[in-house]
Symmetry: C2
Amino acid sequence: MSKYVSVEHLKYLLHEVHGMDEMFRLSRYREYDSESIDMLLDSIRQFSDKELFPYLKEMDEFGAKYENGSITAHPQIERIMRQAGENGFICSHFDYDEGGSQMPYMVGIAANFITTAANNSAVGYMSLTAGAAGLIRSFGSKEQFEEYVPNMVAGKWGGTMALTEPQAGSSLSDIVTSARENQDGSYKITGQKIFISSGDHQCVENIVHLVLARIEGAPAGTKGISLFIVPKKRMNADRVLVSNDVFTAGEYDKMGQRAYVTTHLVFGEQNNCKGWLVGEANMGLKYMFQMMNGARLEVGLTGAAIASAAYYASLQYAKERPQGRKLDGSGGKNLNEPQTLIINHPDVRRMLMLQKAIVEGSASLLLLCAKYLDLSHNGETEEERRKNHLLVELLTPVAKTYPSEMGIVSISNGMQVLGGYGFTTDFPLEQYYRDVRITAIYEGTTGIQSLDLLGRKMTMHNGQAVRELIVEISNTMNDASTFDELKPYAEQLQLAVQSTEQVLMHLMSFAMKGQFEKFLADATIFMEFFGTTVIGWQWLAMALSAKKALVTEQMKRSTDFYESQIHAMKFYFKYELTKTKGLAETLLNTEQLTTVEKERAMSLFE
Amino acid sequence: MSKYVSVEHLKYLLHEVHGMDEMFRLSRYREYDSESIDMLLDSIRQFSDKELFPYLKEMDEFGAKYENGSITAHPQIERIMRQAGENGFICSHFDYDEGGSQMPYMVGIAANFITTAANNSAVGYMSLTAGAAGLIRSFGSKEQFEEYVPNMVAGKWGGTMALTEPQAGSSLSDIVTSARENQDGSYKITGQKIFISSGDHQCVENIVHLVLARIEGAPAGTKGISLFIVPKKRMNADRVLVSNDVFTAGEYDKMGQRAYVTTHLVFGEQNNCKGWLVGEANMGLKYMFQMMNGARLEVGLTGAAIASAAYYASLQYAKERPQGRKLDGSGGKNLNEPQTLIINHPDVRRMLMLQKAIVEGSASLLLLCAKYLDLSHNGETEEERRKNHLLVELLTPVAKTYPSEMGIVSISNGMQVLGGYGFTTDFPLEQYYRDVRITAIYEGTTGIQSLDLLGRKMTMHNGQAVRELIVEISNTMNDASTFDELKPYAEQLQLAVQSTEQVLMHLMSFAMKGQFEKFLADATIFMEFFGTTVIGWQWLAMALSAKKALVTEQMKRSTDFYESQIHAMKFYFKYELTKTKGLAETLLNTEQLTTVEKERAMSLFE
C-alpha cells in the first residue's frame, strides 16, 4: 500500500514536541498513557488502510447522484460510518457515559489527520456528524441528547450544520429561515439552506440537521438567530420515523471532494417541517461559534492531510522514476551514465522539501491548537484555561488558513514532481489538487478568517492574546538559542516577530482613528505574513526537540528522523520565512489601492 | 455573452505600449496598417464569440473517448478547424504565396490570446497544426511542403509535434524511437510517443506527426536525433490515403483541457510505418528548438488567456453579487443598509486587481516577445536581428513560465471571489482552474524553463542578452522618471534590477568554479525573482504609455482606461514586486539544502 501519512511524525509531535503526555495529569485523561495513544493511532491507521484509502479514487469517480429529491452516495460510506461508530471513532472525545472514550482532543486531531489523509471525502461524513452531536451535547437538553446522539455516535444517523443561505453567503446576519412556535413546543421551520455537506444520502437511517433560523419577531441581525434540531425524519407518536418535510432540491456538482455530497435543502415546503430549539432563543450564532474553533481546525487539518497524501505520492514517484543526469561532473551530459532518479535533482528535492515543510509545519500547529483548545476547557486552573483560550482563539484562523492555502501550493508542487503524469487520472495527484481547493473556502473563506484574525483576535482583550503568543514564541527561541546550530534561526525568527509588532502597530493606528476599512483592507496579506511567521515558530520547535533528542541521545526514533527535522527547519527558514520581508513591506505601504473611492468603484477594472 | 478578454487592452498594448505600428515600415508588412489590424482583431473576437466560447463547457463535459484504437473528440472541433482554415486563421504568418497573410507575429499572438481565452482546448488543435506546418515550411523540402502544408493551412489535416517517450520524459537525449532507411528514400519508423496533444481524432482527414527519432547508427544523445514527417495516413501510388501503421494505444484522461486529446502513439507495430526525413539527418533537435520559442510563447499565452477568461468571469460575479456591508461608518453592522456588492469589499478588489495585474502584465510581455521574435527574423539590419534574437531567447522562458505559474494563482483568486460557487460546475472558474494547471508542465516544465533561463540564457554570449535587457528596462525607467507620479516606481524597479545583478554575480561564481549543481539548484527561485521583476518593467511601461496619453490628451481610449493602467501598476509594485526582496535573500543564502549529499539522498524526506 502507498504511504499517505507519517504516523511516526504525528507521534513525534504529540510526545516530543507538544508534550501530549502532560495531559495525562488531568483527571479526565487519567486512563491514557503514551503507549495506549500510540496503539490507538496504529489501529486508526489500520482502519484507514482497509476501509478508507482503497476507495479514494472509485468514490471520486462515483461522485454523488441526485434524482427525484434524493441523493445516492457511494455505498462504502455506509460501511465506513458503521465501522467508525462500532470502533468508537466518531465522537471519541465525548465522556465515557455519553458513549465516548474521553479521548484528548489532540489525539482526536492526530487520528483525523490519518483518516483524512486516507480519504478526505469519506471523513467529512463522520466529522460533521460529530460536530452536530457535539452541539446537541453542549447546548441541548438531556432529552434531546438521548433522542439523537446515541444513533449519531453509533454511525447510524448522520448530522449536518446548516448555516448558509442563497442570499446571505458569509453574511450570517442576513439569514431569513424562519421558525414559528407550534402548540407542542416544537417550531415550524421554513426556509432554504445551500452548500450543506452530507445533507442527504442513503448511507444513514436519518440525518440530524442543526439549523440556524430566526424565531418570528426576533431582533434583526445576528442577535436574532436561534439554533434548531431539524431531522430529516422525525419520530411520530408511535416512535416510528416519518418524513419531516426536508426536501433535497439539488446536489452541487463540484470540482473536488466529489464523494462528499453537497446539498441544497428546502425546509417546510409542505408546511410540515418541525424543528426543536436548542438551548435558549437567539443564542444560535453564539452556540455555533463555540463549535467553530473545532470545525475550523478540522478544515485546516483537511488541507494539511490531503497535502500529506500528495507529498508521499510524489515522494514515491521521485524515488522510482529515472530521468536525466546529475549536473555535477559532466554537466548532465554524460550519456554513458545511467539516468538518475529524479529525487536526486535539486529542483525536485526543493519541491519535495517544500511539501514536507508545509505538511509537517501545518500538522504541528494543528496539534498545538488542539492542545490549547483542550486546556481551554479542561485546564486545572482558571488561569490555565484563560490563557489557553486566548491562544486557541488567536491561532485558530491561522490553523484553518495556512494549511488550506499552503496545502494548495504543496499539492501543486507534488503534481509538478510527476510532470505530465501528475495531470492525468492515472495518478492521485490530480484528485488531491481538486479536493484540497475547497478548504480555503469552507467554514469561512480565507478572507473571512483574515478579518477575524486581524479585526477581532489581534485586538481582543487589548491585544492580550498576541502578547501571550509572543511569550510562547520567545520561550522556544530562548531555548533554541542555547544550541549553536539553532541560534541563527532563532535570531531570524526574532526579526520576524519584531516585524510583526511593527506591522501591528502601524495597522492598529487606523483602527484607533476609526478607519476600519483601511485597518482591514490588507487583512489577507497580514494573515499570510503572520501565518508564515507562526509556522516558522513551529519549525523551530520541531528542530529544537530533534536537537535535544540528538544531543541527549535519548532517541525514540532514528537519527535520520531527527536530522530531517532540523534540515526541514533550515529549508523553511531559507525558502519560506524570508517571504515575510516583502509582505511586511506591503503591509507598511500606506498607498490605498483596494479601498473604494466611490466614483471609481467599477472603472478601475476595465 | 460574458466577457472573456479585453480586446481594447490588446489594442492598447499593440499600438500604444509596444509600437506595433513601427512594424509596418518592414516590406513584409507593408499592406497592414493600424485600422486593418484592429478590424482583424474584431473579426477574431466575433469568430470566437460564435464558434469557440459557447462550446467551452460542453466540450469539457464531452472530453475525448477512446475505443478500439481510435479517439472521438467533440464534433465542434471539425467545424472550428474548417472555419479557421477558411478564414486563414491557422497559418496566418505564412507568406502570401504559401497560403498565409504575412501577418505580423505580434498580431498572431494577440489573435491567439482572444481565441484561447474563449476556448483553450479548441485552440490547441489549430496551434499544433500551425506548429507542425511551420516546421515543414522552415526545414522541409518543397515537395514535402506541397504534399502536406496546404491541407494543414486549410484545416483539413491536423498536425502534432511528437517528442516525449515513456522512458525519457524531459530528457530528450534519451529518446529511442528508431528510423531505418527504406529503399525508396523513406524511413521505417518504430517506437512510442506519449502525451501527444491532438494525436488522434476524427475531426480531420489526416494527422501529420512531426516525430523525433534516431536513424540507426546515429550518435548517442541529442546529436543523433532527426526529424521526420510521419503521417497517420500516407498516400499510396494512386494518391489515395492509406493507413501508415500509426496505432493509437490510448488517450490520457486528464484533470483539465479535457477536450484536447492527449494520446499514446505506437509507430510501426505492424512494421509498416513510413517517415520522411525533414532537412538533414541528426539536426532534429536543433530544428525543433528553432520552433520552440514560438511554441513556448503559445503556452505562456494559454496560461494568461485562461486567466483572462477567469478574471472577467469573477469580475462579473463581483459586480452582481450583494453580500455583507461596507466596514466604514457602521463597521459593517448597520442592517438597515442594503447589502453591498462584493466588488466594494477591499479583499475582493485585491483579488480582482491581482488578476488584472497578472493577466495584463503577462499579455504585455507576450506581445513584446512576439515583437522581438518577429524582428529577430525580419529586422532590417543584422544588428537589429541580433539584438532582438538575444532578447527573445532570454525572455521566452519567462514569458512561458510567469503566465503559467501566475495564471494558476490568478485563477485561484478568481475562484475565491465566487466563494463556494466557484468550486461548483455551475460557474466556469473550476474548469479554468483545472485547464490552466497544465501550462506549467508542457513544452518544458517550470523547472526546465528555469534551468534554460539561468543556465543557458543568462550566460550566453557572456551575458550579452541580460545586458541588452537592462538597457531596455533602463530606457523605460528613465522615461518614466520624467513624470513625478511615476518616478518613485521607476526607483523601486531600479532597486530590483540592481538586486538582479547582485544575485547573478553571486550565482555565477558557482558556475565559474564548475559547481553547476550549486549554480542551478535554485534556478526556479531565480525564475520567480526575475519574472516578477520583468513583469514590473512591463507594468511601468504600460503606466508610462497611459501617463503620456493622459498628459498629452492624445487619448484613443477613455480616461478611466488609462487611469486603470496606472492604478494597476501601483498595485503590482505594492503587492507583487515587493516579493523580490525575500526571493533575493533566498538566492543569496549560501546554505545548500537541496543538493545531494550522497549518503542522505533519501533519508531527509522520511
